[in-house]
């Protein structure tokens, strides 16, 4: 039975004796995890905008002086409509601040309300496709209505777009995680070359295969963990930089795409994926013959 103290001591010793290789491996793993994580962040923010059951089928933008309740009553007369919700300018601003807490402050200094009052129309499931478009088309000619848009088509296209981004991120992520594993495997091979004589001596002195390999496994797992953590730090730095930029110069579209950071599960997962990549990379490079 190999004692943990020995494994930790040797792993640390391996890391110190090849400090440059260790840093290089951490950098490569960080880079390999950073790119897919960036996709995950984009996908998450885009996903918040995509349609679901609660997404209105049509949004009627009102003239600030219009009789909102009157228009709402008229819309409610349509039997296909399930729900009507009047969203005032203040309510729209409050909603924006809830959804984008980091960007909401940037709108605080404005004297006028940045969002016009709207009416959100949700249809019954039995209404069928195209009902939202028909309601929006009818409402366009009503007095007090500035714009009436159906969200159905846009929502569908947007959902498709989000799905594509997610799939691309997943595919790229898979490739890059594989690259991370190979990077660790190469780094471990380098470390093995540096310590080949030692490994030979250790075996001759009666070290078991576990005693020879476990410190390398731990070393690589540590590299992966550090790489994952570094990728997380880089991602958060990118996110904060983006927020600062958007706070200084708000952008109507980009601001919506850059509203929140990854949730705690994804944040925990990144270093763990790095560690797993490190462990797997070291296992494929450390065989009995090495």
């Amino acid at each position: 039975m190999v004692k943990p103290r020995y494994i930790f001591g040797e792993a640390w010793s391996i890391a110190r004796s090849g400090a440059r290789q260790t840093l290089l491996a951490i950098g490569l793993i960080a880079l390999s995890l950073y790119v897919p994580a960036l996709f995950a962040l984009l996908s998450k923010n885009l996903g918040r905008l995509s349609t679901d059951a609660e997404t209105p089928a049509a949004v009627i933008t009102l003239d600030p002086a219009a009789d909102g309740r009157g228009i709402a009553r008229r819309l409610a007369d349509d039997s296909r409509v399930r729900e009507i919700r009047i969203v005032s300018s203040d309510a729209a601003l409050a909603r924006f601040r809830r959804a984008y807490p980091e960007l909401g402050a940037a709108l605080g200094d404005l004297k006028e309300a940045p969002f016009p009052p709207t009416i959100e129309v949700r249809m019954r499931p039995s209404a069928g496709p195209g009902a939202g478009t028909a309601v929006a088309a009818a409402a366009r000619s009503w007095p007090g209505v500035e714009i009436a848009e159906s969200e159905e088509e846009i929502g569908r296209r947007f959902s498709d777009g989000v799905r594509i981004v997610r799939a691309a991120g997943l595919a790229l992520g898979g490739v890059l995680v594989l690259a991370a594993i190979l990077s660790v495997a190469s780094a471990i091979r380098l470390a093995l070359d540096l310590h080949r004589d030692e490994i030979e001596i250790m075996r001759l002195m009666g070290a078991t295969e576990t005693a020879v390999r476990a410190p390398f496994w731990l070393h690589a797992t540590g590299e992966g963990l550090a790489g994952g953590a570094l990728a997380l730090v880089l991602l958060y730095a990118t996110y904060r930089l983006g927020l600062n930029y958007l706070a200084r110069s708000p952008h109507p579209v980009l601001s919506m795409f850059w509203g929140s950071f990854l949730d705690w599960r994804a944040v925990t997962l990144m270093p763990l994926i790095g560690a797993a990549a490190g462990l797997f990379g070291s296992m494929i490079s450390l065989t009995r013959r090495t």
Binding site: R5, Y6, A207
Partner: protein
């Protein structure tokens, strides 16, 4: 202690490193293994600490057939055998103490116990004051003494040495041989592979001679000249 019965070792089809070797080394014996370069001395030792398996034949060490030892058991077997190499095989990034205490460290012995054992063996080889030095800070003779200390720290019943004086001058060689004798007097079986005939003659111990992979027991007289040894080294024991 050691019994070899019709042991052969081949590398490929045409290179016979050892051929049909049969011999016995008794417990507590001090034996020299000699022969010209390429005679099979190193292969003989490699088989004894199971660095390599024999192609055929049986090798018994302490009654155990090590030729059929499963790979998982080899490290444990090696811990019962001390090995000293010509090139010392010390780990450069580890101190003298760490080199010696390596196996104890793997086994999880307390640091205090590791230090106590390392100090004891280093005192036996006269290097207890160099416990924290690194191999590169030591002379060749000192490095070989550290290697010997490492080989005996587990109190092995068998000590194998492959050309242990090959890189040392005659004075240091003498010193190292004295150490082996001391170890042997304490009860450890010692087998030293060397082609230093002067050294063998001075020691007056039993000699196993190898020639092109074949073994003959040869008595080596103290008064034999090096030339005579080389010309007729394989006199059968009477």
């Amino acid at each position: 202690m050691i019994q070899l019965f019709r042991v052969s070792k081949e590398y490929g089809r045409f290179r016979h490193a050892l051929a049909d070797v049969t011999c016995t080394i008794e417990r507590g014996e001090f034996v020299f293994l000699t022969g010209p370069s390429g005679a099979g001395k190193s292969t003989f030792l490699k088989l004894l600490f199971r660095d390599e398996p024999p192609t055929s034949g049986q090798i018994l060490v302490n009654g155990r057939n090590i030729g059929v030892l499963p790979p998982s058991q080899i490290p444990y077997f090696r811990r019962s055998v001390g090995v000293v190499f010509q090139d010392f095989k010390l780990i450069r990034r580890k101190s003298v103490f760490e080199n010696i205490a390596f196996v104890q460290n793997v086994l999880g012995l307390s640091r205090a116990e590791q230090k106590r054992r390392a100090y004891q063996v280093l005192k036996r080889v006269g290097l207890h004051h160099q416990m924290n030095a690194y191999p590169d800070e030591l002379s060749g003779g000192e490095q070989q003494r550290v290697a010997i200390a490492r080989a005996i720290v587990n109190e092995p019943t068998l000590l194998l040495a492959d050309e242990p004086t090959g890189n040392l001058d005659p004075v240091l060689s003498e010193e190292i041989m004295r150490l082996f004798l001391e170890i042997n007097i304490r009860g450890t079986t010692v087998l030293v592979a060397t082609h230093d005939f002067d050294l063998i003659r001075r020691m007056g111990k039993r000699v196993l001679s190898l020639d092109r992979g074949r073994l003959r027991d040869a008595p080596l007289r103290r008064d034999a000249s090096p030339t005579a040894v080389r010309e007729a080294p394989f006199l059968p024991l009477g």
